[in-house]
């Protein structure tokens, strides 16, 4: 049945071929990359492309050698030069649904014009090209300004002329907004115009560009788009969406742009700063880039699933940002359009799969790995706290002769009250005499001779219940110390305050397989940190145990000392991510847990320090078996250092005179102050790999627990190979990205910079440089700029300057009828684009022109104004807006809750911070209009602008209006505009005069407080006018 159809088609073709050929004869020779690949990729590659699993009939149309080979049936998909013999074309032209390609069910069809292109291409010899983006970057020669050279070359082909230069005012406003995200001030505009008339426009313009690039505002502006690409937020995302602290990384980005860190270094430090030899503090902070991913702290998550999701997010983000590759498409199967196999995808995953993270985020703070990252100011302040402690230590040292003498006297009759080492000791159970806090439960719990006096003794039946001890929680500092003589080491609970319910929140110290194991538990078993000693304990021997926790909810923050020596431990669990309250836990039991059972052995001198992390020195002192009184009886030379230390502490606590006690107290206080300040210092999540790494596997269908082949790190075959002989790690990968041979990084980066200035990249799909992405509009220019960028030090400021200095950038943005017809999308740039300002720029601009803006570089994120209840209605988080200056900082500092984004930014098209986004949305909705008209901070800006208008703008309405207009639009109003605004103001005034009660209330406090000396009606009318000005299309647009 198929045969007659084909022969029909063949004759049909030979008949109409001439007609088609004639129709297309004027066209230039076809290019596979430009004309054919997009058609085949869109319609054919899904089944006849790189994805091995989906290849139908073993046919690939993306590889010439395969497409031109005879199939088993004998037919050949593509016969170069012979369209009528090419099976692929026959099938494309077929009308029988059985024959037709793509199959009707696929939803794809080729247009008549596309069919003709395929026919022509086969006729011309079916030449293939490698996908352009994987080809090496080649710099074609250009004369004069290369940007203008290539742009004009293309314009000539399109029969278009460039537009004249924009007005000086427009150029100033445009370049100021583009480079700093803020409009020029009136003074800057005047200075620029004066300079232009003196030295010429070009010289004045260049001076402005240099000034703007030096401004710290440049870094703030550039950081915004990088933050969106890096999916930066101040919370974890996912269900709990708890807070995290990454603002030090954000400030690193701002600083890197401002100091013009070369892009290759910018890349290496962010992707692999931790692997550099002796990385600096800043280089470690830089690696926060790949800790900005979402991270789930939900209870009960499968850890392996989210370890994989984290690694996948890092690969997808890194591939998008540096290579414009949609690598994520190869997670479940070979990429359908680009030459990236599933195995290669997991080879990339392996570079990012070794992070020393637990797999479940910590719910209320940074998750491992992180480091303390004080700012320089904070570091200085910490140093002053430490200096105070040193001074206190020195003062104590200075008093040593008197102390020593006094102690010797005291030692004759020490009568020390037990125990020593009392700082922060909240509970001490000596188990020596009846104690109302200690209850023996059931039989088998008695007091028998112990280390000092008697000890709690358990025979495997009863247990002791002591007080409820507060603060034994992961998120608090505490220490526990006791003497222990286990009779049973294979299993059994030593101490437990676990709740009786299955959640078991509390601590458990137990013997297991001979080892001492310690759990801090908020929810069994999804929220537990557990460590155990590597060495086994011997039954029947007294040992001293000190357990300390540093309050960071990490297994690494827990330490076990045995006989004063810190123990090597195994981390069994490390997911204690829930914040617990100090009040949690039930009465503490010795030798029993409802969940584990009973234990045999002895415990003595049980101490709880519920707010302190004891030092190793202190742990050593506690492990002294003798009481101070006993030590005092030893000859000085016979005392061990630990005994000496303990005795000294006992003396200072109990025997010293008030002056000596004060010295000691001052030292203790100063040390507490150091710790307290240190606990408040900001931290930053960084990249740090597990020493032993984590094996990576292909995951079948992308599913976390469907392990396929094990893979080693590696880069895709289609791209240049890694240099030989280097260690194949994340650092090698980062260096490879910025190696001169890499065809993608420079192109993708240059494209994104162009997009920032022109609203659209050469490749409009900035996130996809693959076969399904758009072809570049100006491939030669893209390559020229990419080559220049990478060959000249990856200098981002130079790149920006080159772009904004071009005539192309500086031209007028007016639409003409001719342009509208010939190039409605302005692809060839015969005019500058007119771009809607992004939400963050709109907000910052309103603050700037009204005088509300508070400029302060860096610092913790601030809680901008937002309507009440937005968080509370959707979550258990509570939003408290900041005060004063915090409300008027630049938007880049606004606190970003990932799942409930700042509403104004979300309405005004800001990128979603859930995932990497490298292309700005630009939409036009009524909700945006409502925001700019009515959102309280925009209204506050209107009122402050009105005040400026009335106080600085001159005496007449028209002077005042012209003043305000210049502030917002960087130009004087035209007569018709001025006239309309003057009459508008008069109307508003009349409206408010007629009903003075309606004049807007003015806040009495805060930065936006009203100036009280202005007549209410005047201010109200001017506010209404300013509200109009701030909403003008021209003002919300970069012309």
């Amino acid at each position: 049945m198929a045969r007659p159809l084909r022969s029909f088609l063949r004759s049909f073709l030979s008949g109409v071929g001439l007609v088609w050929g004639a129709a297309a004869s004027a066209a230039e020779p076809l290019s596979y990359n430009r004309d054919i690949r997009p058609i085949l990729s869109e319609n054919c590659f899904a089944c006849h492309g790189p994805d091995k699993a989906k290849q139908k009939g073993r046919l690939r149309l993306d590889v010439r050698e395969i497409a031109t080979q005879p199939a088993k049936s004998g037919s050949v998909a593509i016969v170069p030069g012979k369209p009528e013999a090419s099976e692929a074309l026959m099938r494309i032209l077929a009308s029988d649904p059985e024959e037709q390609m793509p199959p009707p069910a696929s939803g794809h069809t080729l247009t008549a014009a596309q069919k003709d292109l395929v026919r022509r291409w086969i006729n011309e010899g079916a030449a293939y090209q490698r996908h352009w983006a994987f080809e090496p970057i080649r710099q074609a020669p250009a004369t004069g300004n290369a940007i203008d050279f290539f742009i004009r070359q293309r314009l000539r082909q399109a029969g278009l002329q460039p537009s004249p230069a924009a007005s000086p005012e427009t150029q100033l406003r445009r370049v100021s907004l583009d480079l700093t995200g803020l409009p020029p001030t009136g003074a800057e505009a005047s200075a620029f115009l004066a300079d232009a008339s003196q030295r010429g426009l070009d010289a004045a313009y260049e001076a402005v560009v240099d000034r703007l690039l030096k401004s710290p505002r440049y870094g703030e502006r550039m950081a915004w788009t990088w933050l969106e690409a890096a999916r930066y937020a101040d919370t974890d995302g996912y269900q709990n969406d708890g807070p995290r602290e990454m603002w030090r990384w954000r400030d690193w980005v701002i600083d890197a742009f401002n100091t013009n860190l070369p892009f290759d270094q910018f890349t290496i430090e962010q992707l692999a700063g931790d692997l550099l030899p002796k990385p600096t503090h800043e280089q470690l902070i830089a690696t926060g880039f790949n800790r900005n991913n979402r991270y789930n702290s939900e209870e009960g998550i499968p850890i392996d699933e989210f370890l994989l999701e984290n690694a996948v997010d890092r690969v997808d983000t890194t591939s998008t940002v540096w290579m414009g590759l949609t690598a994520g498409c190869a997670r479940c199967h070979d990429h359908k359009y680009d030459p990236l196999s599933q195995k290669e995808y997991y080879q990339l995953v392996d570079y990012f799969n070794d992070v020393a993270e637990s797999g479940r985020a910590t719910r209320g703070r940074n998750s491992e790995p992180w480091i303390k990252t004080p700012t320089p100011d904070q570091r200085a302040k910490l140093a002053t706290f430490e200096a105070k402690a040193s001074q206190a230590r020195a003062a104590l040292q200075k008093a040593e002769p008197e102390i020593r003498a006094a102690q010797q006297t005291w030692e004759h009759d020490p009568a020390p009250k037990s125990p020593a080492l009392r700082q922060g000791l909240d509970f001490h159970f000596a188990f020596d005499a009846p104690d109302e806090r200690v209850a023996a439960k059931e039989s088998g719990a008695t007091l028998q001779p112990g280390v000092q006096g008697t000890a709690a003794t358990l025979t495997g039946q009863g247990y002791f219940e002591v007080d409820k001890i507060p603060g034994l929680i992961g998120n608090g500092r505490f220490s526990i110390a006791f003497w222990l003589k286990p009779d049973q080491v294979e299993s059994g609970p030593v101490l437990s305050n676990e709740a009786a319910v299955t959640v078991r929140n509390g601590i458990l110290v137990e013997m297991l397989n001979g080892r001492l194991r310690w759990n801090i538990n908020t929810r069994w078993i999804s929220g537990v940190s557990t460590i155990e000693t590597k060495r086994s304990l011997t039954p029947g021997e007294w040992i001293h145990v000190t357990l300390t926790n540093d309050g960071t909810q990490r297994a690494v923050g827990m330490t076990i000392y045995v006989n004063g020596e810190e123990q090597a431990v195994n981390v069994i669990r490390n997911t204690n991510s829930n914040v617990a309250s100090r009040k949690e836990g039930t009465a503490l039991r010795v030798g029993y847990s409802k969940h584990v059972g009973h234990w045999r052995g002895q415990i003595d001198e049980l101490r709880f320090y519920t707010t302190r992390t004891l030092s190793s020195d202190e742990a050593r002192s506690l492990a002294v078996r003798e009481t101070p009184a006993t030590i005092a009886r030893l000859a000085e030379s016979a005392r061990t250092p630990a005994q000496r230390q303990l005795l000294r502490i006992a003396f200072l606590e109990q025997g010293a005179n008030p002056a000596q006690r004060d010295l000691f107290g001052a030292l203790q206080q100063a040390e507490v102050a150091v710790v307290a300040y240190d606990d408040r210092l900001p931290s930053t999540m960084i990249m740090r790999d597990l020493p032993e790494g984590r094996p990576s596997f292909v995951r079948t269908r992308g599913v976390y627990d469907a392990l396929g082949e094990r893979v080693q790190p590696g880069v895709p075959e289609i791209l240049p190979a890694l240099p030989r002989g280097v260690k194949n790690d994340r650092l090698a990968f980062a260096r490879w990205l910025v190696s001169p041979e890499h065809p993608l990084t420079a192109r993708v980066t240059v494209n994104r910079h162009w997009q920032l200035l022109f609203g659209r990249g050469f490749v409009t799909t900035a996130e996809d440089f693959g076969a399904q992405g758009e072809m570049p509009s100006h491939p030669e220019l893209l390559d020229w700029l990419a080559a220049e960028f990478k060959d000249n030090g990856w200098d981002m400021k130079a790149l920006m300057k080159r772009m904004v200095m071009s005539a192309t950038y500086r031209q007028d943005s007016t639409f003409t009828t001719e342009l509208q017809q010939k190039d409605p999308d302005n692809r060839w740039l015969a005019r500058a684009p007119r771009l809607r300002l992004p939400g963050n720029v709109l907000r910052d601009q309103a603050f700037m022109v009204s005088g509300l803006l508070v400029e302060q570089l860096g610092g913790p994120s601030v809680f901008a104004y937002q309507p009440d209840g937005l968080w509370e209605e959707a979550s258990n988080a509570k939003y408290t807006p900041g005060k004063g200056a915090d409300l008027y900082r630049r938007s880049v500092y606004t606190y970003w809750k990932r799942t409930l984004a700042p509403p104004t930014m979300a309405l005004l098209d800001a990128g979603d911070r859930e995932y990497c986004s490298v292309r700005q949305k630009s939409t036009n909705t009524p909700l945006q209009a409502l925001t700019l008209l009515n959102e309280p901070t925009f209204v506050a800006a209107a009122r402050k602008l009105a005040e400026r208008m009335l106080t600085e703008g001159g005496a007449t309405d028209s002077d005042r209006i012209a003043f305000a207009f210049r502030l917002v639009a960087t130009r004087s109003p035209k007569p018709a505009e001025l006239q309309m605004l003057v009459s508008a103001l008069a109307e508003y005034r009349t409206a408010f005069e007629n009903d003075s009660k309606t004049a807007p209330a003015r806040p009495k406090k805060g930065k936006a407080a009203g100036a009280t000396n202005l007549p209410p009606v005047e201010l109200a009318a001017a506010t209404a006018l300013a509200n109009v000005l701030l909403n003008l299309d021209e003002v919300t647009t970069r012309e």
Partner: protein, 477 residues
Amino acid sequence: MNDDRYHAAFRPTRRQFLGRATAAMGGFALASLLDPALARAAPGRPGLIAANPKAKRVIYLFQSGGPPQHDTFDYKPHLDTVHGQETPASVFNGQRLTGMTAGQSSFPIARSIFKFQQHGKSRAWVSDVMPHLAGVVDELCFIRSMHTEAINHDPAITFLQTGFQIAGRPSIGAWMSYGLGSENANLPAFVAMLSGTGDQPLYDRLWGAGFLPSVHQGVRFRSGKDPVLYLNNPDGFSDGLRRKTLDHLGALNRMRLDVTGDPEIETRIAQYEMAYRMQSSVPELTDVSREPASTFELYGEDARKPGTYAYNALIARRLSERGVRFVQLFHRGWDTHGGLPGQLRARCKETDQATAGLIKDLKQRGLLDETLVVWGGEFGRTVYCQGDLAANNYGRDHHPRCFTMWVAGGGFKAGFTYGATDDFGYNIVENPVSVHDLHATLLQQLGVNHERLTFKFQGRHFRLTDIHGSVVRNLLA
């Protein structure tokens, strides 16, 4: 340059306008811009919607947290005989558990404390915790064999809402807005409303647009002064003054249009006008004070209180009446890990009457036929007890393998129950329905082939149903 659907509505006007070049921009052009008939034409994807679709719009009642199927609709008398016994290994069948119960040493079976009865002509089983809903079972199509892939809230709810477990895809309502367009120029095509409290939070992205243009994101209607963010003029700005400022703004923008020729300005003017219309249409919509007493008999007295589920259900009807495509209620607090009986009673007290009232109300207004009402959460709950099993108290953990949802109206079979689970309510034994299948079937009733509702992003044609889903014909009348 901008593929925003709202823009599409204005494109013809823009072209006409440019044809007139920058000739006198008088009252004529303004009139055409403000003509609601033009603004109304925010179409869906051309050629996508089949002729005469069964349903025109959706009200989705999302019960966030995962309602327990054993205690509501999936009656399992067998549990009475095995109550307190260990769940047999044959039932688990290698199933993964959440980390919350994986550490439990015992998995005792918990029967439901609630009494079940058959109701209506359809004899559908409903427990006594939902007495009102029991009265409308003959309108409902129960799917007892829903299953999902995710076991934790965020991935599971994201999966139900976007067809994918990881954030980044458009929500179902955004897809509808994109595909079906808007029927009302003065209201958004997709409205989301929140109620309830509980440990499980909700996220913007659940009604977000993902990679679709932001105009398709759900507009969150809230209780209080501003039902839509920033709807009200600043204090002291009367409506008359707002009108004046918009007239001046429009006139000045048109002057700029004369200079620049940028058709985008025209769109912008139109958006400000639509904002102005919303300032009156939304308060009218959310003001329920003129609803007759009979309305509150149906929905319950809570429906007078903004912010409650009942009020939101009533607003959902009012939105649907006005042609809003997709209305989604999210009610929190169904995550019954412990203290299930008390929690479930509380949730049903908050929602049962209003849900049933909405069904009756739509029915009596003749709207049920063309409105799909969907009820359900993100997964089911386990047959075994989480935590400690007491005489009158128990909890259930997350369970992805089966759960019950129901759909009413829009051409789904009424008074029908589909699919079945085993005696333990643990595994599906008959007619499984995946999340993708449900999506495909809902789209089908709206006249849309789920494989053709696509958006190209990152080189791929994305669908709500990803690469899966089949229409479940047996659910359809």
